[in-house]
Symmetry: C2
Subunit: 252 residues, 2 copies
Amino acid sequence: MNLDNIRIVLVNTSHPGNIGGVARAMKNMGLSRLVLVQPRQFPDDQASWRAAGALDLLERAVVCGSLDEAIADCQYVVGTSARERRIPWPLLDPRRCAEEIALRSGREQVAVLFGREDRGLTNDELKRCNLHLHIPSDPAYSSLNLAMAVQIVCYELRMLLLGDTLPSAADDQWDAPFSTVENMERFYQHLEETLVGIGFLDPAAPRQLMARLRRLYGRVRLDEMELNILRGILTETQKYAPPPSGGDRGQS
Amino acid sequence: MNLDNIRIVLVNTSHPGNIGGVARAMKNMGLSRLVLVQPRQFPDDQASWRAAGALDLLERAVVCGSLDEAIADCQYVVGTSARERRIPWPLLDPRRCAEEIALRSGREQVAVLFGREDRGLTNDELKRCNLHLHIPSDPAYSSLNLAMAVQIVCYELRMLLLGDTLPSAADDQWDAPFSTVENMERFYQHLEETLVGIGFLDPAAPRQLMARLRRLYGRVRLDEMELNILRGILTETQKYAPPPSGGDRGQS
């Protein structure tokens, strides 16, 4: 997968602000090649303003007089499509499209086409594409802003690029090791003694109290630092509780 | 999963245009509950303009004087975070966050918090959250537009909602059945005869021609209608070719 081989092609964009929004969305996700086919107004202050920190993409944007010119050297062309075609074309959601694009972008030039704000790509333009991409928006209000559509596609490409490097769970980067069963059992013993000591738990009628506390701490999974904090609180608490009527104070 | 139990909470938004962009992004993905904590300017024409067809969401937006008020009745709170915290918090990418949110939204009220355009959520606000969400943007330019961030999160929720109902391949909705091996073999036979007939294929030195053609049509997978079109072309072509010097004309 090579993001540098992927170009975003905007066809006949009406609002220059959207061009800026697209540039920013692309750069946020690590894409850099923007091609504009007959934009109504470009360059433009609105485009620059919406681009924010992605001005460099606007400056390097290639402006073309025709779609042919924009995709002539591409080996794979994907077109975004809002509606069903008369002849169904290969059509995928952004996630599966990103997989297809990634597959090709290693050695080939790939173009992803986005159409006009009001009516997308024409049928003729869509017939130039190997694959159609459809963003599964709510049919009750399906018209996405142009830059939003680009954002979603670029986001999917970036998610694919990052792949397994994303934290699969926060635990990967946690700052303390999680407690072992042995330490948790010592904690539960300490907790139970303390609750008996302060008169909250009646050993003669314990009901489900310890089970509920075990479920609570088992669900959260304590790390060693948290365990030490809770053990410290228990030890302090025990100092104020009346001495146990009998037996050891445990190994805490 | 119940999108109606999920609220998007914008904290101290500066630009009313972004509020409109958020409303549109939400409605595109089927979310409807927008909560604004101390927006700088709302209602506002810019918000309405950017909301486009999502004006109803703006009209029903709840404006709160504090974050506490906005999330008081929630059982699960997710906060978007651009940077690492001193104390690491449970942190996931938008896809895995969406799974957590979906899990809870069936019976519980879930809030997803988005902070200020320039500096996000404060540490105090982030400490109110059960989970932090991080959009894995390019570190070289990581600052996403507010509405774009909301768009990505809402998109992930919608993708999860649609799940297996998305077309796994265009083949699901194809308008003609794909050809069977038997019909493909008849086609290859017809093709070979025709190529011999027009003198393009020399049976004495066939080289890899038929293998390459088999690879081509095998890669594309023909449907029955396409197969009939190609067979029709072959039959027409054979009419103009000199009659075969011997043998059958096949079973075409």
